[in-house]
Symmetry: C2
Subunit: 575 residues, 2 copies
Amino acid sequence: MLFSRCLIPTVKETPQDAVNASHTFLTRGGFIRRVGAGTYDFLPLGFRVLKKVEGIVRAEMNRAGALEILMPALLPAEYFKETGRWDTFGDNLFRLKDRKGSEMHLGPTHEEIVTDIARREIRSYREMPLNLYQIQTKFRDEPRPRGGLLRCREFIMKDAYSFDVSEEAAKASYERMRVAYCNVYDRMGLTYRMVAADSGAMGGSTSAEFQVLAESGEDAIVACDTCDYAANVEVAVVRPPAASTDDATVMEPERVSTPGKKTIEEVSTFLKVKPEAMLKSLVYVGGETTALVVIRGDHEVNEIAVARALGVADVFLATDVDVKKATGTDIGFVGPIGFKGRVLVDRAASQVKNGIAGGNERDVHVKNVNRGRDYDGDVGDFRLAGTGDGCAKCGKGTLTSYKGIEAGHIFILGTHYTAKMGATFLAEDQQKQPIIMGCYGIGVSRLVAATVEQHHDQDGMRWPMSIAPYQVHICTIGKDDAVNQAAKALYDDLEARGIEVLWDDRDERPGVKFKDADLLGIPLRVTIGGKGLAAGNFELKPRSEPDPKKAEMVPVADAARILEERVKSALAGKK
Amino acid sequence: MLFSRCLIPTVKETPQDAVNASHTFLTRGGFIRRVGAGTYDFLPLGFRVLKKVEGIVRAEMNRAGALEILMPALLPAEYFKETGRWDTFGDNLFRLKDRKGSEMHLGPTHEEIVTDIARREIRSYREMPLNLYQIQTKFRDEPRPRGGLLRCREFIMKDAYSFDVSEEAAKASYERMRVAYCNVYDRMGLTYRMVAADSGAMGGSTSAEFQVLAESGEDAIVACDTCDYAANVEVAVVRPPAASTDDATVMEPERVSTPGKKTIEEVSTFLKVKPEAMLKSLVYVGGETTALVVIRGDHEVNEIAVARALGVADVFLATDVDVKKATGTDIGFVGPIGFKGRVLVDRAASQVKNGIAGGNERDVHVKNVNRGRDYDGDVGDFRLAGTGDGCAKCGKGTLTSYKGIEAGHIFILGTHYTAKMGATFLAEDQQKQPIIMGCYGIGVSRLVAATVEQHHDQDGMRWPMSIAPYQVHICTIGKDDAVNQAAKALYDDLEARGIEVLWDDRDERPGVKFKDADLLGIPLRVTIGGKGLAAGNFELKPRSEPDPKKAEMVPVADAARILEERVKSALAGKK
């Protein structure tokens, strides 16, 4: 492809709303353009990367025996109504009415539609295992679309659905998908962790997320330094702290004045104590219940654990008004002493001796608060795991926190959908049974961004060979006929070898071409200039090499062969 | 692929709403399943065909120098509002509001969105010609979705958009697309005509449709038997009839009683005259105007021509009430004599001597009606062309009518969108000019159906090799180990040669397997049974061969090679 004949509108400006590398570089490199909130054009280079990711996902799905199909994106409401998700999906669902007034919506995920296929077409145990997948545009009305392709309202997803005769067979299907997912990320050259995760709105029992590690990720995960345990902090289990050996004398409570000091940081500085000696008390509302959650000052609440303890789907931090009603005081001065209602005490907080808590009165805190004497509640794990926590799995290791981008999620759903929708089969014993289902998602367009988050430097993107928009980037310097002829010969030779080449044939200064080459991030750059050519050489520089002096001279006659070898060995390394 | 491991739910029943072969066979063959009005699942075989059509379209677009991109399907209202199509698209547009109440819609076509790319990214004449295309799911709220994949509310379209510096350059882009379109249909083995067409809601000047000829088509086209003229009847121009040489005496008008005789057929039978001696008078409403259109009894009104004559976008047949108001009588007895308002007289009708027209009174017609004496109006071409009309282009040939399925439409749009949206460029003389645009659509999912309409018999589909879901269909007869081993060996050999094979390994009777093979329509069927195998043979039968006795015996050792040759030569024939 000639640069001058392609549409590669590189720009110097970072988009105003860009907060991460992929949004910045994909836009600056002319890979994507914003159309509306959370919707983007894929321009030619972006589209090529997207198709390559799709190709890897498709190949691994096919290899795992899944069958590709395509379901509609525009759906009658009746299917989601059957399972109740028409209501539970809430504002995340794009809803509309057709010209006849029928209720419809755009598909955010397709469990109901594929279960409808299963209930119509699967009759017998002989027809399973069956795994149907599609690579499709999905729609979710995200409250806060952000990060370019990381969180969109329209995005491309690979969603697969397995159908099995038993839990055991479903586990085998799940395992095949786990392997396929690892293959996908490996082939893309990504560093990732498979972590235990919450099954959330999907229903079902077992589930795992694939997290691409990146500082810009919005998910927090912890991994053990000793065993293979890794989990989203929302569900991470930590080793219970050893029974307290703190034999400090339990002292009498003492009310102290803390004028205007509301946050843990303000109070701990003011009273000269460490945050871990403080008891943070937060009022949560879940359904009809208002509860107080007590955690250590240095910890964060795990809202999923709180919701589970209260037996509700979601909990929310109480508003100022609700806090006042529940405690008689303002946020910042709430404490557990005398709280009327359910109290959840995190295990670590429960062991704090002579802690400091809010005094339930403006500008007052209480010193020497001890559970049992001054307050009590249900003790459990109500905080997010973090660096330094002990690993509950191996009992020895220590957990470390990472940030991750969720790039895949696999579930065993059991009969959650099939039972509701009457998708049954005749088992070998001629008994009707509900089908056991699993579902497996990969964010295809999100993976484009996640790759950039992991593969970039200050100058631009650094594409892994397997999904690079082109494999070789030729920059010609000057307008010399000999240079153009040499470039043309190399270009033709590489194309004949099946290598994908972008030739920057523009009438631009070398500095502009090199800056764009760094920005676009094609793995191998070949520079062809008059001086090198006179010496019989092209200059070869991998994008991954940061030192500009480390460019390599390759003889003109060998260049195509050497480039082909580099491309093929890079691709083979990721298989 | 093993039949038993795939999802190929063949059924005997024709869908209730099926009116054509593709809807019937694609459903019966388990290629598609209905999800809602005008929306379908593509099951594995249907999906494979769809992807092959996509592949051919993509290859020809790339070959023509077009660049693939992907625009969003979910669009903010602002773009269509800029050009006025937010209003003019009417009920055909699926509209919705997001969680913040912003107006959005689903993309039925993407002129505005791609023009937005052009106005943002194209600066100079040097950046053109540029042709951007996408293969994407489109949404239109069709009033009457029907015919399976022929008219859907969600469908897959390839839409390309060219950007040029001048009308002349735009014509060259248009010509490249014309050639690419012909290549697509040729490679798919379709019989089609490129015809002159109405530019309709798209705007612009030049346009042509590609019509796949099929009895079930909903478009009528005419083609000349002498020259290359072909056109949609909506825009077809016919040779004006020679000035009348009918020297019949003009007779006095005579009112006759025609009790209850309303239609042309009823009146012509009752009065024993031919339909061509009758004047059919129809009341049309277009905008504020009510007009009477007079055509010969054997002709049909061309509503596009009527609308054009009245200077409005659309015209509609008047309702019973409006007819009564305009003529004082009921539908069936309307005539031109004394009509107060605009009268449009088709050229052929204007030459009718002593014709029969409605009497503008219930149960009365008038004989011996002559234009000039009894009524008058604007004479022009207001009827649809049909078989037997003279060709206006060559002046010699005769037109014949065909039914067609619109499978592509190419337009030169000029500055219709670019002027409205301010998409300009700096010309060589440094003057700002609007970009000249073209647009080019192919109904990808519709082509799947159109192919079946042309390629089927009473037993099922007959796929052209280039888009067949598989190329070879192996049917094994009986459960003999030797049969299974021979089949396995052939299957593996063919796969190693890159041939796509479906092996019907089910435990079913031969009759069931053959019926399904005919239904699915894979081009080459190989039957492996104990008897043939004992004689060292497989049976080979092309799906296109109707005579079951014409099956060919091929030696086991040569079978894979012969099949590979047949597949490759069939594919080469369509390149």
